[in-house]
Amino acid sequence: MTAPNTLPWGRAVRVIARRDLLEFVRDRRTLFVTLLMPMAMYPVLALASTLGLRTALSDQEARQAPRLLAIALSGPDAEPLAIRLEQVVATVADQPPADWPAQLTAEPVPARAAQQQLDDGTADVWIDAPAGTVAALDGRGTVPLEARVSALRPIDTRRQRHLLAVVRALAEDARRQRIEAAGLPPSVLEPVVLAFAGGSPFESVASMEGILPTAAGGVLVLLALLTATGAFYPAIDALAGEKERGTIETLLLAPATAGEIVTGKFLAIWGVTLASLLVNALSICLTSLVLLRFLPAGIDLGVDAACLTSAALVTLVGYLGLAAVAAATCLAVTSGARSGKEAQNTLTPVILLVSGLAGSALLPGADGGALAAIPFAGQVALARDALAGAATSVLVFRLALSLGAAAAATWLLLRGAAAALGDEELLFRGPDVAGSLLTRPAPRSRPTPMQGFAAALVAFAALWYVQGIAPTDLALAVPIQQAALVLPLIAVVLWQRVDPVTTFGLTAPGGHRWPRAVVGGVFAGAGLFILGATATLALRGTHLSPAARDLAERIMGLLLDRPWWLSGLLIALLPAICEELFFRGWLLAAFAGERPSRRRAVAAVLLQAAAFAGFHLLPERMPQTFLLGVVLGWMTLATGSLVPAVLAHLAHNAVPLVLVALAADGHGQRLAAGDTTTLPGWLVPAAAGAAIAGLALVHAARRQ
């Protein structure tokens, strides 16, 4: 028997996918998490929320139900006033006005008895009717009534409204009698009457308007989370589990590339994740049908059936991409783990992060268009807007964008997983040793990728927490933010004993060609600011989110009100040094490693640029900062030095300063604030020329 020398493309992928799928469906944990949990989760949640809703509605109904109102009348005119009130009750019996009590009693009693009734709760209110009260009602005067309430048993707001309704009806009755006495028609008091035709508009006892979008948003986030959870156990089983059982070696011994193995495993995990998605969707549909029966009659859902169908379709298609990214993420994250336990520990925070990302789409002001390309958040935002009835063309465009972004993210993650699968150290190093975090490592030339990730997480967390305590004044806020970035880094560098010269590229760029790298960095940085600002404005317009507008105003305030050297220090110099040390120094060195292959270099540059964009926190600035991060990362790798990137960053951030300083007529101020409508025509071509010339100079100074 002889095996063929080459296999048809995709055959190994299919065999591995089939083999893994067979294993997954025989795993009870996977079946439980994928199929049973969603079937039980939604009914339980729906039951709990329905019971809560019913309780809330009943409570509301009970709070709105009319109550008894007992009035104790005293004084000489108590008797006639009681009779008058009886007449009023009879008058409104057919159509009680708003807030009318369920039953009204008005008993004439002596003053002492009235006080007693107030104190023992027999009467809600005590009104003294002096002599002439009823006569004044019939005449043309104003009757001053004083309603006394008990200090022991204060009257509640509901009964206060009942009393006001009774007094209004009494006044209305008196008014009508006065009109008749004056010989005027009743229409004098009613110049306009409104009637509803075609049925009463107040049939519903309550409306779901306002409740439904919130509930739907919650369900969409839950759907994203449970779909991602569907990939949890299969992903752990697929690589870490195979390493633990010793079966991964058998796959690596087969004539299949790491890419084919990873793709086969991804397809199997995606299959399980899709099954999880479908079961979740089915459970949501069935639960919704049951929920409708549970709801009290007359509830207005405020949902259009056609809109609901298209929204469900958009959600399902969008979530196909979400399931792919979830499967690839879980596979990539667990590819570095040596055992199931290690994989579980690594994957758990990632799943929490994913749910946070999905939930961010529901934050007030979250722009669905901007989020479309961000996995998890994009799909939730898309489904939310589809439910809200967004235009079909908008939905189709964003769906295509979301699927494209999901495909790209999946591809990148699978490349990462394949690289990890081929990594001998990850494959054969054995499980992590407990307590290794507290063991000071041996000195090394540059940080490991894991140290890079850890530093990025610490810096991001530090930056986030600093946002809460940093003062609004940029003169203080900027140094605090930059300190939050570099202080933990300094501690880590000292602890890890990495070589600062190698890690941070503290060498002359390009050897004897350093002047080219220096000039090129400055030209490229300055040119890129103008180009980036122009492109951003062309794509997004001048509309800014409140946070971005606030920051722009604070920067302008700093530029105009503070000395130029302080603005330069805070806006240009400090960020150029601190951020470059962190992103193009530590992170790039960690991700690229020593003598990186082209692929690894590209991945390292993209990763640190993504972290750099995320560090700026404002979504509208992220594309520009990401591209800047890519260019600065390339400069650093090309020249082997951090200097060109620092100078480029410095020049980039200094452009607004220069514009403000140069423009006496306010033109530069508008430019610095982002208003390019008055840009001189030559500026953009000049900026493009500067950027190209700068990049060419840096390229000419690259390492051999």
Partner: protein, 245 residues
Amino acid sequence: MIEAAGLSKHFRAADGTVVKAVDGVSFVVAPGEMVGLLGANGVGKTTTMRLLATLLKPTAGTARIAGCDVLADPLGVRRRLGYLSATTGVPDRLTPQEVLESFGRLHGLEPAALTDRVPALLDALGLTSCAARPCGRLSTGQRQRVSLGRALIHDPPALVLDEPTSGLDIVGARDLLDLLERLRGEGRSILISTHRLHEIERRCDRFLIIHAGRIVAAGSRAEMAAAPGGLEGAFFAAVEPGAEL
């Protein structure tokens, strides 16, 4: 044929020092020959075998399996090599039949060929009675035989077996070694490592003794048997301090 030429593998240890796990190893295992690779723990046996199986990339030197170079054509090597170690496991939730079928397909065997090959292999390995039972419910010996079946499903001309009898009882070990002798008789090149010298001293044609990443002694079965203390004596003489190469 299995050929290693100046095969080396160096690792960087946690303290930054370079560890030469395998250091310039060269040998040949001819077709129809079973060669024992002997050595203490941590001297480079497993690393050498992983280099041959393309699980690791050599730092220097190279190796060829049935004419295919481990660096130039790793997939070709895998098509021509059956590899088994004490740590290579079998999937718990698949049956022996499914394991053999899936690896047969991975090696490009057509369904028609598998229909004949899988039952024959299961029968040869004594696994017919448990062919439909999940591997997780099999005994250690049965699981190791499934592993061997996985390594043999594509009928490779060369076998690299790293402590294949580890964990097996005396009967299981004997049966497995008997099977290997039959496979040698079919003309396959077999490189086997084990700590149990008595198991292989009468079965291997030649022996290689590895120590600190280098082949420190080599000889035929007759030469080793003639040494003072037999194979065991030759082994200790080669690996103990002061031993002459």
